[in-house]
Symmetry: C2
Subunit: 246 residues, 2 copies
């Protein structure tokens, strides 16, 4: 049990150290490409000792993912102060920080694969999605979300995931632009839902009513208003009987 | 090799029959809950004979998924005639038909799990996503899509997936509403992207220019214009310097 140990650590301390080392390695390369030997070398201990703490790579991977999931869920927490657009923008900033720090591991996890697509890992992913969903609902101040609002929030969480994955694949668009865009996407998905449902329209009008003109939501609306009555045929639809939602 | 065979079939015919029977079973219950015995019974042959054609449940599952993937990819094909909004709405109708027909199997596949989350199945899912992406791009008539358009189309494909999964989980919102909403979401995501990027604005103005006022895009724009200048502070942003994109 002492083979190769540089200094004595307690069991829990050693486990936490191994989780940290493994998370670092799993963050920078696909977990399928990381061996127990590398983890042992990075931790400065022998391979058998790694197995003493974790029966196999999968259990160490799941422990690392547990830590990453808790960390990611925590980044969706945001004080309920100030305009919603600005809050969501800060949350997106922290979300992209996380994605940036754990890029290859995040991609591998979300895309599935031999080492990463287990029931346990899928359950952890769903748990983070649920935490993000509940945080956003809390910010909206809606206690009993109607089905359409649930759909908007859940689809937006999924949109944030897929946008982050696409960003990681080449990083062609600056992340700051994508963070802002996702806040706007939230507004856009809400507006689409509100355009056809009075309950959603009520919720949206209440939220937008608290937004300053120079916040991300206000700015978007200004740009949309500028863009929408373009040169095409659609510029004539202002005359359509769509006033009833006001 | 003749045990329990009710009538003689050729090898390829029998394989195709088994794939059809398995796909039917995998569509209505999670593949994890379907046994080889059930597949054998439904096909009217013995369990050993199933193994003669497919070495195990995973290989039969993958063959069934192959057929489903080809079928789904085909539903994204749509003649390049008429307004884009109407085309996308027809595609969404066929997509939801597919989701409706294969509900529990589609959910299990997209959510991952012991029997379904393999590298092979993930590759097939990505293949369908890619086919959908290429179809949409072809409809937009853009030969070399800029990074921001690629992002909009890929994220919309992902949004269609997640909306369908949420719909399957309770079917609280009528699917016709969701099909239309997804067409609108496509417009909304494009508009958000266009609000900050001149190249996207040019593409969007060209597409919207071909849309009739009574098509799904035209109708949405009418409803948005009615909704956007609401009672909140954001109604003042019409004065913002956002005119440069026109």
């Amino acid at each position: 049990m002492t083979t190769g140990v540089r200094r004595r650590m307690g069991v829990e301390e050693r486990r936490q150290q191994l989780i940290g080392v493994a998370l670092e390695l799993f963050s920078h390369r696909s977990p399928d490409d990381v061996s127990i030997d590398e983890i042992a070398a990075a931790a400065g201990i022998s391979r058998p000792l790694v197995y003493h703490y974790f029966p196999g790579k999968q259990s160490l991977y799941e422990a690392a993912l547990r830590r990453a999931a808790d960390e990611l869920a925590a980044r969706f927490r945001e004080p309920r102060e100030g305009p919603l657009g600005a809050r969501l923008l800060r949350v997106m900033g922290r979300f992209f920080d996380f994605v940036d720090e754990h890029g290859p591991g995040f991609s591998a996890l979300m895309r599935g694969g031999p080492a990463v697509g287990s029931s346990t890992t899928n359950a952890m992913i769903d748990e983070v999605r649920q935490a993000a969903y509940e945080q956003i609902l809390a910010h909206l101040g809606v206690e009993r979300p109607p089905a359409r609002l649930q759909l908007v929030v859940r689809s937006w969480v999924s949109l944030a995931e897929s946008t982050a994955l696409i960003w990681l694949d080449g990083r062609e668009i600056p992340r700051a632009e994508l963070e802002l865009q996702l806040v706007h996407d939230f507004a856009a998905l809400s507006v689409v839902s509100a355009a056809y449902d009075e309950e959603m329209a009520g919720i949206l009008i209440r939220i937008l009513g608290d937004e300053p003109a120079d916040g991300p939501f206000g700015e978007l609306v200004g740009r949309l208003v500028a863009l929408v009555p373009g040169e095409g045929k659609v510029s004539t639809v202002g005359k359509m009987p769509a006033q009833r939602l006001r």
